[in-house]
């Protein structure tokens, strides 16, 4: 392992951190939605894809720049999520979670199908915003500024979400709703509104990750389903019970995946699933898990 240049190793670790950030944001959204709605949101990957297409189309069609998109696209996708929850997903509440899973599965197929029909399966490039181009020379390696930006802003969003859930009044309602929604409703809190808000928040977070991903990965219709399956493995490893656990597991697995690309590239597409299998054998409930 000594013949691997430090530059390559560190480069893959930063890529791993970038992917880890996406896993963290996506699994955070999944955990939030599952906690309150009892829905495993299969459309999460499609919402991430919508975020990436959102920033691409905003630039192509109406000339909105990256910075505005970073704020507007998650809001628009979040509103779309709220609409889906209000009009459709709500009707499935109280039924077996199988049905809501299958509903979101269908939704993901429709969304991906529409974009594939219009834009094909090939990737569309999105330019890195001018302010974030270039490299930082650290002496021992050159770090692309955009990767630093992704990691920084993702961690900020993760910590902000953690703060919202664990340290604010609204967060305490959310956590109480996760434990016992009917009791919270009986105490005079508008639970249906909270449910819509949480789905919109999860959708918005997924879209935010999509916007961040657009400049480094190509924008393409199937980008969501690929990352979603890995995120599911991350969720199985970390468990859905803990917010901080979801963030830590996401980042750690991203780095492990990055390292596998350096030492044994053949395994890099399956390493997360292998780790999942090991965790299942050693600790069936997951690293931070409460059994659902």
């Amino acid at each position: 392992m000594f013949d691997i240049p430090l530059q390559v190793l560190l480069g893959q670790i930063t890529i791993g951190l970038v992917n880890g950030c996406f896993y963290a944001i996506l699994s955070l959204g999944l955990a939030l939605i599952f906690g309150l709605l009892n829905v495993i949101n299969f459309a999460h990957g499609a919402l991430y894809m919508l975020g990436a297409f959102g920033v691409y189309l905003a630039m192509q069609k109406i000339g909105v720049n990256y910075w505005w998109s970073l704020i507007l696209v998650p809001i628009v996708v979040g509103a779309f999520g709220a609409l889906i929850e209000r009009l459709l997903l709500r009707r499935l509440a109280g039924l077996d979670h199988l049905y809501s899973l299958l509903f979101t599965f269908g939704l993901a197929l429709v969304l991906e199908g529409i974009f594939r029909d219009i834009y094909g399966s090939a990737g569309l490039p999105y330019p890195t915003p001018p302010q974030l181009r270039g490299l930082i020379d650290l002496g021992f390696m050159r770090l692309p500024i955009y990767r630093v930006w992704i990691v920084g802003v993702s961690l900020f969003v993760c910590i902000a979400t953690w703060f919202l859930i664990e340290r604010t009044r609204l967060g305490s309602y959310l956590r109480a709703g996760t434990e016992n929604a009917r009791m919270v409703q009986a105490l005079g809190i508008n639970v249906p509104l909270m449910v819509t808000f949480v789905y919109a928040l999860g959708a918005g977070l997924a879209a935010f990750a999509g916007v961040l991903a657009a400049p480094i990965y190509q924008v393409q219709p199937l980008m969501g389903s690929n990352i979603l399956i890995v995120t599911f493995a991350v969720v199985v490893i970390g468990g859905l019970g803990s917010t901080a656990g979801a963030i830590a597991t996401g980042l750690a697995l991203g780095v492990i995946e990055g390292l596998s690309k350096v030492f044994y590239p053949e395994i890099s597409s399956t390493i997360v699933f292998i780790v999942m299998a090991f965790v299942l054998l050693m600790r069936p409930a997951g690293l931070f898990g409460r059994e659902a």
Partner: protein, 326 residues
């Protein structure tokens, strides 16, 4: 008369007359292969109540191994199908053994993740032919005697396999084994307190389901002469879920009806191609995933019991009314 016997006779009669109604034998065989896959999936998810999103792994690997055994080792069809069955069984024991450690949604996510791992294995493994897949898989002669290159002979063989499996599964559900599965589905803590080893029952049902899914893959590879990455992709798992949901999950006939509907829909849509509605022209063949997705959402929203399930419910309530009128 037992349901299993009615099914056996009914399917045989319909199956024997089907090729003489002018339907293409190729199309019928594709229906049969996918119906077998749906029956396999339904045996586990319909009766145990845990959703597997990983059945494409068994179907895909079964298709590859049956194809490879025929092409590279010169296996006869029945031996190739045995290979597919065993591959499905072993893979099912491994994946099922891990997945049943967790409940509910985790089970679904684990099966999906492990199946994706199998998919990536298929992308890289030397024997799968990567993007090209295994093409022009020969059919050879059944037991080395009966030539199956004729479509009608192949159809008869496949029909026999499918009817035998459907009958076998239904008999199993009528036996104590099946009743215990239903008890676990309906009230797991009670089944545990009655002394049943719930995990062992779940795992054996999963392994049987996986074995037959592998068999279905083998049947598909032999009938269509092709095995490839789409067979192992997660969209194939989604497709089999849709078949069962549309036909009626947990009903003996539902998966077959659903499979026929989905295969018909896909082949009709892609053969229709571009359709002109007024001044609007729509290319239907590229819209298959969108339409499939919409059917998914409609099914879940409007008729969750599926076609066979809804009909059965209507019949049952009519019977109930008659009885109360007496």
């Amino acid at each position: 008369m037992r349901t299993s016997l009615i099914l056996l006779i009914g399917l045989l009669v319909v199956g024997i007359f089907a090729p003489f109604t002018g339907l293409y034998t190729q199309f019928l065989m594709k229906c049969l292969a996918l119906a077998l896959f749906a029956v396999a999936f339904n045996f586990f998810t319909g009766n145990v109540g845990l959703l597997s999103i990983g059945h494409a792994a068994f179907f895909g690997m079964g298709a590859y191994m049956a194809g490879y055994a025929t092409k590279a080792w010169g296996f006869t069809p029945e031996l190739a199908l045995v290979v597919a069955l065993i591959v499905g069984l072993v893979l099912g024991l491994v994946i099922g053994g891990m997945a049943i450690r967790r409940q509910g949604i985790y089970f679904a996510m684990i099966t999906l993740a492990l199946a994706q791992m199998v998919y990536f294995f298929c992308v890289q493994a030397p024997f799968t032919g990567a993007e090209d897949g295994l093409q022009r898989i020969p059919r050879r002669a059944l037991f080395g005697i009966i030539d199956l290159s004729d479509d009608l002979a192949m159809y008869a063989f496949v029909l026999a396999v499918v009817v035998a499996v459907v009958w076998g599964f239904q008999r199993l559900m009528e036996a104590p084994f099946g009743q215990v599965l239903l008890a676990i589905r309906d009230n797991e803590p009670r089944a545990i307190s009655l002394g049943y080893d719930v995990q062992a029952f779940k795992l054996s049902a999963f392994a049987m389901s996986a074995a037959v899914a592998g068999l279905a893959g083998g049947v598909k590879a032999l009938t269509l002469g092709f095995a490839g990455l789409p067979d192992a992709h997660w969209t194939q798992s989604g497709s089999v879920i849709l078949m069962c949901l549309l036909g009626g999950l947990g009903t003996p006939l539902g998966p077959i009806v659903g499979a026929i509907l989905v295969v018909t829909l896909e082949s009709r849509l892609s053969s229709l191609g571009v359709v002109h509605i007024g001044s609007l022209s729509v290319d239907l063949s590229s819209k298959v995933p969108i339409i499939i997705g919409f059917i998914f959402m409609l099914c879940v929203m409007l008729f969750r019991k599926g076609i066979v399930g809804e009909i059965a419910a209507v019949l049952a309530s009519a019977k109930g009314r008659r009885l109360s009128a007496k």
